[in-house]
Symmetry: C2
Subunit: 513 residues, 2 copies
Amino acid sequence: MRMRSVLRYFLRDRASRLYSSSAAAEAQAVRPARDRILTLQSMNPQVRAVEYAVRGPIVIKAGEIEKELQQGIKKPFSEVIKANIGDAHAMGQQPITFLRQVVALCTYPDLLDDPRFPQDAKDRARRILESCGGQSLGSYSTSQGITCIREDVARYIERRDGDVPSDPDNIYLTTGASEGIANILKILVSGEGRSRTGVMIPIPQYPLYSAAISELNAVQVNYYLDEEHCWALDASELRRALYQAKEYCNPKVLCIINPGNPTGQVQSQRCIEEVIHFAREEGLFLLADEVYQDNVYSQDCQFHSFKKVLHEMGPEYSSNVELASFHSTSKGYTGECGYRGGYMEVLNLHPDVKAQLVKMLSVRLCPPVSGQAAIDVVVNPPQPDEESYQQFIQEKEAVLSTLAHKAKLTEELFNQVPGIRCNPLQGAMYAFPQIIIPPRAVEKAEELQMAPDMFYCMRLLEETGICVVPGSGFGQREGTYHFRMTILPPVEKLRLLLQSVKDFHVRFLDEFS
Amino acid sequence: MRMRSVLRYFLRDRASRLYSSSAAAEAQAVRPARDRILTLQSMNPQVRAVEYAVRGPIVIKAGEIEKELQQGIKKPFSEVIKANIGDAHAMGQQPITFLRQVVALCTYPDLLDDPRFPQDAKDRARRILESCGGQSLGSYSTSQGITCIREDVARYIERRDGDVPSDPDNIYLTTGASEGIANILKILVSGEGRSRTGVMIPIPQYPLYSAAISELNAVQVNYYLDEEHCWALDASELRRALYQAKEYCNPKVLCIINPGNPTGQVQSQRCIEEVIHFAREEGLFLLADEVYQDNVYSQDCQFHSFKKVLHEMGPEYSSNVELASFHSTSKGYTGECGYRGGYMEVLNLHPDVKAQLVKMLSVRLCPPVSGQAAIDVVVNPPQPDEESYQQFIQEKEAVLSTLAHKAKLTEELFNQVPGIRCNPLQGAMYAFPQIIIPPRAVEKAEELQMAPDMFYCMRLLEETGICVVPGSGFGQREGTYHFRMTILPPVEKLRLLLQSVKDFHVRFLDEFS
């Protein structure tokens, strides 16, 4: 009976990959399209082509199931667990106290005389407010972001990279990292037909990249990470992808995600050197998505920024290779997704283009100023001689050590399941295990006009309430199947969740073998 | 000597309309372009074509002058007054206490037990937090925005429009109004050559529209507001513009700004009826930019929302005309620009397109959650039986009555200057006076490869420190010249500012006649 309801959903939905026929849309009475100016046929075809699996049909379905649970409809589970998205606070992670204190003080400066707030938080809030027009978070900042915060970002980068100089004028505060990435891609794309800009992205990738590429009518050029070697990036694969792409487009951008999303891979210094060398040789603009730079768990791994490695390769590289790197308040140990804070550092940008970038950014006026205040705490946390240091360090380390524990736990438990194979989660906050889907299940999925891993994940959701994202939303080698799951639920819940996935997987194999 | 320095600036800058040669860019050592992948030639030409005067070359120049003043360089003035942008708090307007209390409580929930915060603010904060994942502002919200806030928006619209129903499912919270407008335009544009989407915009316009149209490679279709009749919109002018545009593009969007930016005009119910009738007849998607809906000063005027008028015209219209309308935390009496909060209500959107819109919005994950909390206060302010009501009403009315006073003052003082003519400022927060520029000054400007009103505004800035935006940045009938100035400085400062403009104008006429 339950299976029938799942099937009905699939059939009603036909191809659930198409949002156009999503249940949310169908919930409204469909009016005759002839009356509408804006239809699927007349709308922007590049927007129509966008796919974004992290909030795709499976998440829409999860929302429906949540509503059904609220209405008292019986399910074999009591809650939906949204392991589809890296949303730390939603999974129970607590905010870093110091960050919230600084932002609250900026928001309501009457609190600056409140003895319950520590002096170091007040000092930071005062400094931020002094850089705001009218000393108010409610003023627009400059388009590039508040100057003193950009200075703090530059100093943070210098500390991180062992005193490699950073110029605040190369720093741009952003509305989360996503906006920065989309804007850098926007300024880079041009051309028609075979001259269209090719953007090289890893497979698997974070689907912001494919979405932005679709929207900008650029060409997605896939290079495959090596699952057999812990999702490592291999320069010869970059070369293969580039040369094939040159047949049909003009590849000029190379995107790297390190630590990897969804793979969790942390790149070695040597790998990064090879990538930079390749970019220099082939004339590629580098985009380094480094939002998980604080999320490294494996003892054998260390985060190396592209900026630092670029500098160490000498002036031939450091003065020439164009590099944009991104960071965010949303990940790391703060997990402040809602503030939409972030920054990018853009190196070796031609001054004319820099002026164009600032102009383009000025149209959106400024990034959210409270998000700017939040990123300031990320890059300028309490120092050992400051009042808030002890509490801050405790909170930070509790988050990071718990994540490290969960990374290990997830890898271990997945690898105990027959038909699931999971690389070590060296960093970031996701597992991306490979799953066996038996041929009969693949056939069933094809009947239903679904990707096999979408069929798998929909079944997982319907039977267990666990919401994960099919690997097809990130890209994977043909014939392999994966899903992405965050490791953010609290340890005990995560353990139960992994057990549920295991039981489901065994049942699924059983049913379709 | 001073004039020479101005001229040097202009000459060095050549055409200061081009950002590519802006002083900011020149401040960096220009590296040889051959080394760069991303150059003016190779970058996205649609981005290159964008102009955004509100933060354009004149504002860059103002920033430079501010730095010179800080360095102790003598000027005929002691400060730069940025009357270029509607940035209320930067001009000294104080935040609405209740709004900041609610946002601070959401930011730092420990304050929920603080007796210094009023109960009604705590109630609202608790309600918002209960709708946030993990009860934290740091969680992502749904792509459309927090449900309870969208419900509050819908109820606000119903109250505003005399109980015309509003469905929270048609409400989308946005990152300021700008993001909403850009996104609706993005989903609307399509086609190549003569099929390219034409977007009708008023002239003068707010340059977000022209910027978005450039970036999207759509066609800007100008309709002119009637300066002789207080910048009224005339349906016959809409018809002229539409029919001419049909020769070379596919006009399918009509943008309205009411109250007007930069014109300050407030449209009559009758005018809005005509516009809606026209849109229905000609098959146009309506965009109503209503961010100044609370900023109406003239006793003879009243704000009528497009939604309300649409409803009053009967089901033939209200069930068919596609309408997106926009509101913001940045204007009104709150002036909270930095929070980047806002909403849009989209009516009669085809369900398939709605699903596409939500998909597109999901790529940016969510609007800043603190901005969502801020818009909640805008639409759900303290009620007469609540603790904070008295203070709230006092603060609100103080802001609005001061703005009304400044609107009147500005109109009166400008109209006392020979060679300046200013329509009544019925609403919004700008004056857009017409200025006479003598033929000799026009010649001089042409020599310098500048628009004549840019030349005028640069001179005004250099001589008085007052930063206003040339009319050419908003559009104006050929041969007429204007500038846009905010009325946000405090009354006494505004009075001095207007006196300075007057003195400058008289000198300018004298010099060039």
